[in-house]
Symmetry: D2
Subunit: 328 residues, 4 copies
Amino acid sequence: MQRIDVALVGAGRMGQVHGPNAARHPGLRLKYVVDARPGVAEAMAGQWQAGVAGLEQALADPSVGGVLVCSTTDQHLAHASAAVAAGKAVFCEKPVDLDLAKARQAQPLFRDARFLLGFNRRFDPHFLALKRRLDAGEVGRLEALHIVNHDPAAPPPGFIPTSGGLFKDFTIHDLDLARWLLGEEPCEVFASASCLVDPEIGRLGDVDTARVLLRTPSGRLCVISNTRRSGCGYDQRIEAFCSGGRLAADNVHTSTLVATTAQGALAAPIHPGFPERYRDAYRAQIEHFADVVHGRAAPAIGYDDGIAALALAEACGQSARAAAPVHP
Amino acid sequence: MQRIDVALVGAGRMGQVHGPNAARHPGLRLKYVVDARPGVAEAMAGQWQAGVAGLEQALADPSVGGVLVCSTTDQHLAHASAAVAAGKAVFCEKPVDLDLAKARQAQPLFRDARFLLGFNRRFDPHFLALKRRLDAGEVGRLEALHIVNHDPAAPPPGFIPTSGGLFKDFTIHDLDLARWLLGEEPCEVFASASCLVDPEIGRLGDVDTARVLLRTPSGRLCVISNTRRSGCGYDQRIEAFCSGGRLAADNVHTSTLVATTAQGALAAPIHPGFPERYRDAYRAQIEHFADVVHGRAAPAIGYDDGIAALALAEACGQSARAAAPVHP
Amino acid sequence: MQRIDVALVGAGRMGQVHGPNAARHPGLRLKYVVDARPGVAEAMAGQWQAGVAGLEQALADPSVGGVLVCSTTDQHLAHASAAVAAGKAVFCEKPVDLDLAKARQAQPLFRDARFLLGFNRRFDPHFLALKRRLDAGEVGRLEALHIVNHDPAAPPPGFIPTSGGLFKDFTIHDLDLARWLLGEEPCEVFASASCLVDPEIGRLGDVDTARVLLRTPSGRLCVISNTRRSGCGYDQRIEAFCSGGRLAADNVHTSTLVATTAQGALAAPIHPGFPERYRDAYRAQIEHFADVVHGRAAPAIGYDDGIAALALAEACGQSARAAAPVHP
Amino acid sequence: MQRIDVALVGAGRMGQVHGPNAARHPGLRLKYVVDARPGVAEAMAGQWQAGVAGLEQALADPSVGGVLVCSTTDQHLAHASAAVAAGKAVFCEKPVDLDLAKARQAQPLFRDARFLLGFNRRFDPHFLALKRRLDAGEVGRLEALHIVNHDPAAPPPGFIPTSGGLFKDFTIHDLDLARWLLGEEPCEVFASASCLVDPEIGRLGDVDTARVLLRTPSGRLCVISNTRRSGCGYDQRIEAFCSGGRLAADNVHTSTLVATTAQGALAAPIHPGFPERYRDAYRAQIEHFADVVHGRAAPAIGYDDGIAALALAEACGQSARAAAPVHP
């Protein structure tokens, strides 16, 4: 397989996940790392025999076939638009933007783009296995879903003001999963949310604990369970209730070890956070992006999926504030 | 231990559970079986060396210390009232009645009664273990609950018209569990319900699939998940999300057997229905009732608990019909 | 169902298990309790409206259809022989005796007896489920077995001298299970044993930790794992390796509760000892004995099974002492 | 990190595991692939931008710091010796050789070598977690081990004659694990083996099903369970019995998916074979080898470990043939 050059834009938290995965892929070569913060691009570039460049330089290089947009959320749209305009295949971290109107305005730019949105959970092998068996109808027709997405520990309060709030920052993953698995667009959204974890989050106008109830036109029901602090690691589960039984994708534990004593049988903790829990999903995502870059596949998740999830997240916020269902 | 005589009123589905448990208890003697249907009382009485009697006769016998009311739902209130008026200790199957106003009217009669309401789940050893660890604060403060109560298979349509509907007949168990575990009375009820299992249930004006979202004054959230047909047995689970982690009481399987083949690891089915799943709960309930009959304990679940759960069930129905939250 | 009278001989540890189960059975009536120790028979008799009697009196009563022999091991053979000679159906706790020659000598007395030996594990619903699926060939032909039988904590040293030693007292259960499940008599026994738990057990000439490897004529292999102190409760498992996969009957936990925290997922302890772990097995055993008493069933486990297991236990001891395989 | 060049010798089954892992490692560069079979070296070299070379050429290149010996078993010793003599750091697949005398003769050559033997299981994160907790004494002193190593399906009969037989080819992994975990050299080996899977394996003089019982000087006991065909995937488990309870490293399933229907709860299959089951172990092994190549670590498993495991495997064969324990 020939390698195609890619550029990484943003070498922060998510860039440090995706950059090395791209560098290790036999079909990609990490040619540029773009990051304005001093030393950040250099550190990653040095590790993987890549160069450091500005965005314009990277986009201007015709050998660059793909761009990974891992910059801060407020820059996603600008960076992705520029890369798409330059004719590159683009992988972009979620969300496309926090402003639904602005994101909708940009929609035409992405109409025919090779644009892959980073809803990583769709690439998780456990959730994928669930999706395949649902689609195969192995346990009958889907009737209801239960999605658990619990962060291990509350973020520092400083993160809250620019996060977009719980629903747009965090629940958005589950709203995408719900759309993907339900096979119907939810037509009713009811959200109830509290601030139980950290009162500082409440003072900043956000919530940290929520339950969302989605309803589809055919009467399917979906519950989303969120908290910023599970107390027990990164709790990530999906349960699908079907006419013939149920399918559950459970948490992944750090090992299979069980210590049985008079106190009980202690299984190893579940994964503590996203880098470990979704390690295989991140790899599979880059595998898929390499296929997109090489022209072997169309992107599985597009810009419109980003818009749809964002619209549902906005509806969650409205519902929670009004204590009433919203019909998006 | 001396045995005290008890009478069983109603030898149908639930009477066949409670009657033998009372007969086997070393502190009780099943003296009378009351059931107007031909042969029904006789069959049970013959099996357990008891006599057959009418309600008046049984209540008039001063040796009878306790009465188990297992008649049809529409007779619960009349039979229980008569037994209480006769000074007996009374065990009564749930619900106290389907009509909230009527049940509230009767409330004074039960003020000082030795009256135990049959919310059997509170006696389940698994749920009890969860309750005890919650109360001990072992994993911190309770923040949210998830209660799964899925019947194995839809009842015959003939059952629906007199059932009181999904919420009063079935969800009422979960509403009682929620009150018991949350330690607060829910102040907001939102229910979304569908008819996905059997269209005949819908034609009769009922629903068969529901999700209920309760909220308490302190912001605790509780999700109740119901279906009339799980497709996989009697799915009975509780999960409590706390500040230090989570506590889960999972399903009970029919055996610990696991068959591992190339197709996967097949664990034995979960219990198919209530008699097996709550076998130990039913025994413990009668143990507790024996303590009440002998004057060693006050009833753990009273008439007022029945009213409170019934009021929440009524709120669920209102919410589902109006597609809006209700504040009971 | 008419009740038939039974007598309990020995109201000690095992008598306190079997006596109440018989008393609660709708087809049996506990008429006599026989126990020479002051107050012991009286306590049980008072609880269950039974009488206190000597063995002769109980055996002479023609209304007595069955006798439960739960006396000390050195009296099993004498009490069981007397009851059989009196024409009673007999349930007898294991082992039949500790002396293989003596037990073999008595064999003719039991030839046509209605004699049920108390190898309780054969009545455990989990092990029974495994046996049924093995017999049905659901995962192919049986090739090997792994039996784990670990006591929770070492017995007081005073128990050791009269116990018969680890193999005759404890391993004998597993040897019976092996015979039952393998469907062939083992032809080679190799045992390796140590004293790792309590040096006092070693000073008394016994061992507390052992592994036994059985081989059958067709080449099937069976491993038995024993310890007097598991440190984690009463560890009771069977695994069957077959041509199409494996069947495992795992431990029973005290509840389904799991507490998940940052330290891991702590499942409830496994049962701490035999009364809880084999509660259902003991009930089923008495159910079967009631069928034998009523003439509805032939005993599932006979005197010859006791002899065969005892002979294997003796072979284990010889093998461990000689550090060489023994061909029984 | 600077990359150091390595050469892969043998691009067959195991070379295809280790070669890509080395090529992906940021501290290694796959410079040469050595394999005499037409096209084999070329295929791998093309995929990873490496060159094709003969062994002499690769060893003569001073830029080559490490060599991965993945040739056929009969060539391990020759290739590893040559690489060690050339001053390279060497990773060598197990076993060092099938002939114990020959392997012992070569021992002096490896005295001070940077030689890492490929007992991959020691790098498995699950087994490593068990080892660490054993060493930390978290559940007390180790008393006994149970190692399950079951291949998914019997190899083609053509593999048997050059395999070295079940004990040297397969059990050797478990014998290494036993030495590693027991912390003592076994002093007694008893093996019982059968041909139950494929009679052709028996005709070729080998066995396909075995149980091995090891005993250490301090009386610890270890059972090894082997079959060539589990019928249910690659069954790889370790259980350690300690004074305070037990530690178990269980199988890894292909996903966390569980489908619960009326037939039971079907968990996803366990991994079907070594490439998936030990994927992380293989990566960690190459991580460690990279540390050895960079001079940051001494090899965790040396030539002498290979000799010790081989001697135990030979003892297993002797014991099974003689039906008697062997003291190695």
